[in-house]
């Protein structure tokens, strides 16, 4: 638990953890300090100057996004001077923004609209600037409309932080524009269409391509849910209207490194209402599949199962919900009385290797990736790839243990490209040599492992880390779990389900 600091914001007593900046601290107390370029979770850059606040004892106003809380601070967020500067900046931005609130899709959730309302700005008192930038809508996912851009830089920083690094500013000052390399359309850049930029944009410059005329933001019901398309189980917010799914956003808390969904999760919901979706049970009659009623289907299946008895077998996908898996197990063993029940997880893991520890990824300061190849580009556990890259940018360290070099090696602190089992043995020995105490069995098992120089360095990092987390493929899980006898937490990461040992809401453990 970090030290709590007492301070006063606008006369209100607030307690905030040490190291928090003033914008987050004010949020704890329910006070909103206007900001456009600030992204929770990343360092403040002070570009928009909207978050200027006056602090008692300081001569000139300071920006809240980079100022950390100090004991006894007294902050005033609404003095005349700072309100004047804020009004000035919003006025300037409005002079180069198409005043399109009537049909704009961002109406209702637009930061600029909200601030213009707060400062009673109907129109800009400065000369109108029109840029006429071309809209990039050739790809079916994300639409880029640079005319609406307020140059806050959030999209650039989000994309850089998670490793995809596709967007950058071109030019300087008023005429600058957010572009991809060589100003190519998005599908010709390295974009993975994850849409993190769409979630970050405060105005209508980045949005989903099919968003036009699908309803206004306040008409949507927002439901928190989990994406089931791969083992990551990313938190999502599903926006529905009249019972139809309209759009999906990343649902993790603002500022959490886990706020990420890939293109499948974000744009793949059109399969819900696809024409070729089977919506009624079908029975094969005379070689042809014909639609039938649930009653008929259930009766037919029940009769077949009764006849088969202990010769029946159940195979399910590994992505089945744990509660459903338990029900299926009971159905198989207690009702049909067969021992044959399995999931596709058995292709790469067994019971021992799939039940693993849980870990809080956003507070880990050292990641050890064993035999895993997460990649946002190939869409293999992309959320884990994004979380690790973001944490590394925030100061965490990464050790990769793999027999071939995965793409994430480029941000690793130490790369150990060798046989994973041997490497883990060697790591255990190095840790015990450096003083971590383990049990006798482990000590004798790794007695004759050799410790290379790189492995020593890795062991030192491991010992210095406060919250090391080992993410391992199921095949290597048991070996990784041995390390946790000395220190740390290991999580087994199957590809289809339960890929994040996550403390809290979705604590998933395989029971079959």
């Amino acid at each position: 638990m970090a030290n709590m600091v007492n301070l006063k914001i606008d006369g209100k007593e607030i307690k905030a953890p040490e190291g928090t900046n003033l914008i987050d601290a004010a949020e704890i107390g329910g006070i909103h300090i206007p900001n456009l370029c600030y992204l929770k979770g990343l360092k403040g850059i002070g570009a928009c100057r909207l978050c200027l606040v006056e602090i008692e004892g300081m001569k000139s106003p300071m920006i809240a996004c980079t100022t950390k809380v100090k004991e006894g601070m007294s902050v005033n967020t609404k003095t005349e001077k700072v309100q004047e500067v804020r009004k000035f900046v919003i006025d300037l931005i409005l002079s180069m923004h198409p005043l399109d609130c009537m049909t704009c899709t961002k109406a209702g959730v637009c930061n600029l609209q909200q601030y213009a309302y707060d400062f009673e700005l109907k129109e800009s008192s400065f000369t109108r600037k029109k840029f006429g930038f071309a809209i990039d809508e050739a790809n079916p996912f994300i639409k880029r409309d640079p005319d609406y851009c307020v140059l806050c830089g959030r999209c650039v920083r989000v994309c850089k932080n998670q490793g995809t690094n596709v967007l950058e500013f071109m030019g300087r000052g008023v005429g600058s524009k957010v572009v991809t390399a060589d100003d190519k359309p998005l599908q010709e850049s390295g974009c993975t269409f994850c849409g993190s930029c769409v979630d970050a944009c405060p105005v209508n410059a980045l949005l989903e391509s099919d968003r036009w005329r699908k309803g206004r933001e306040w008409e949507y019901d927002k439901i928190n849910s989990t994406c089931l398309l791969c083992g990551n189980g990313c938190d999502i917010t599903v926006n529905t209207k009249d019972g139809h799914v309209m759009k999906i956003n990343a649902g993790a808390a603002e500022g959490s490194p886990e706020k990420y969904i890939c293109a499948y999760g974000r744009f793949g919901f059109d399969c819900i209402e696809a024409d070729n979706r089977v919506t009624a049970p079908m029975k094969r009659v005379n070689g042809e599949l014909k639609e039938t009623t649930w009653k008929d289907a259930l009766e037919t299946v029940a009769n077949m199962l009764k006849k088969a008895g202990s010769n029946a077998g159940f195979i399910s996908t590994a992505g089945i919900l744990n509660e459903d898996a338990l029900t299926l197990k009971k159905l198989a063993s207690d009702v049909v009385k067969t021992k044959n029940a399995d999931t596709t997880a058995s292709l790469y893991g067994s019971v021992d290797t799939l039940i693993s520890g849980t870990a809080k990824l956003d507070s880990a300061d050292l990641f050890v990736l064993v035999d895993l190849n997460p990649s946002q580009w190939e869409r293999v556990l992309p959320a884990i790839d994004a979380v690790i890259r973001r944490r590394v940018n925030d100061g965490a360290k990464l050790i990769v243990i793999n027999s071939s070099e995965p793409k994430i090696s480029s941000v690793a602190t130490i790369n150990l490209i060798e046989n994973e089992a041997e490497a883990l043995k060697s790591l255990a020995k190095a840790l015990m040599d450096k003083g971590l105490s383990g049990d006798e069995k482990l000590a004798s098992a790794v007695e004759n492992a050799s410790v290379s120089e790189a492995m020593e360095k890795a062991a030192t990092l491991y010992i210095e880390a406060k919250n090391p987390v080992i993410l391992s493929s199921p095949a290597m899980y048991q070996a990784s779990a041995n390390i946790t006898l000395l220190k740390g937490v290991a999580v087994s990461v199957p590809v289809e389900s339960n890929a994040k040992g996550y403390d809290g809401a979705y604590h998933r453990r395989k029971i079959l």
Partner: protein, 198 residues
């Protein structure tokens, strides 16, 4: 292709001081600042100087209104408070230096006290003083002087006069006239004031 060397802020300030008219000073400073040292990251400075340039141009070119003046004042004051770095604040200070002296207001009323802003002045040749030597015509690079040199054997001559459409008010003709016959005259003002050139 040689790249134009980026001017430093000190150089810009020095060159700006060389101009006679304060409004021209401010306009020059802001223009060079935008093309060179400005980093363009923070909004008050990046967006503000761009807008200030447009407004200052309006004032210099004779289209200035009171709204332009208050806009420039507001931009400078808020840039002073809100800019990220000293460069922006110094730009704001430079603009504000001359704002209180009434120079801007005179420009809006249609007069440039330093007689530098091209939109407010005209160069004219005083016929009584002109001796028809033709030196001004030779000095003018823009072909703005009409007239024939007096030849003793000729009678009837084209008097020297300045074609206002061609004159860019560069000032090259002023020093060469031996009788100081070229004067700068205020235009767009209610009363025409004739002033001797130095």
């Amino acid at each position: 292709m040689t790249e134009a060397k980026e001017l430093k802020v000190e150089d810009i300030k020095k060159s700006a001081e060389e101009k006679g008219c304060p409004v021209q000073k401010a306009l020059y400073y802001v223009t060079e600042f935008i093309s060179g040292p400005m980093c363009g990251r923070c909004f008050p400075c990046a967006l503000g100087t761009y807008e200030a340039k447009i407004r200052l141009r309006n004032i210099v070119e004779g289209r200035g209104t009171a709204a332009d003046l208050s806009a420039v004042k507001r931009i400078a004051e808020d840039m002073l408070e809100g800019s990220l770095c000293m460069k922006g604040k110094n730009t704001a200070k430079f603009i504000l230096e001359w704002m209180g002296t009434g120079v801007y207001e005179e420009h809006i009323e249609g007069r440039c006290p330093s007689r530098e802003c091209a939109a407010f002045i005209e160069y004219r040749i005083v016929p009584e003083k002109c001796i028809m030597c033709g030196l001004c015509k030779d000095a003018c690079k823009h072909g703005a002087v009409l007239g024939e040199k007096k030849k003793s054997y000729k009678s009837g001559y084209l008097p020297f006069e300045i074609r206002q459409k061609r004159c860019v008010k560069c000032g090259d003709c002023l020093p060469v006239c031996p009788t100081d016959a070229i004067v700068i005259v205020d235009v767009k003002a209610k009363t025409v004031q004739t002033v001797q050139t130095v």
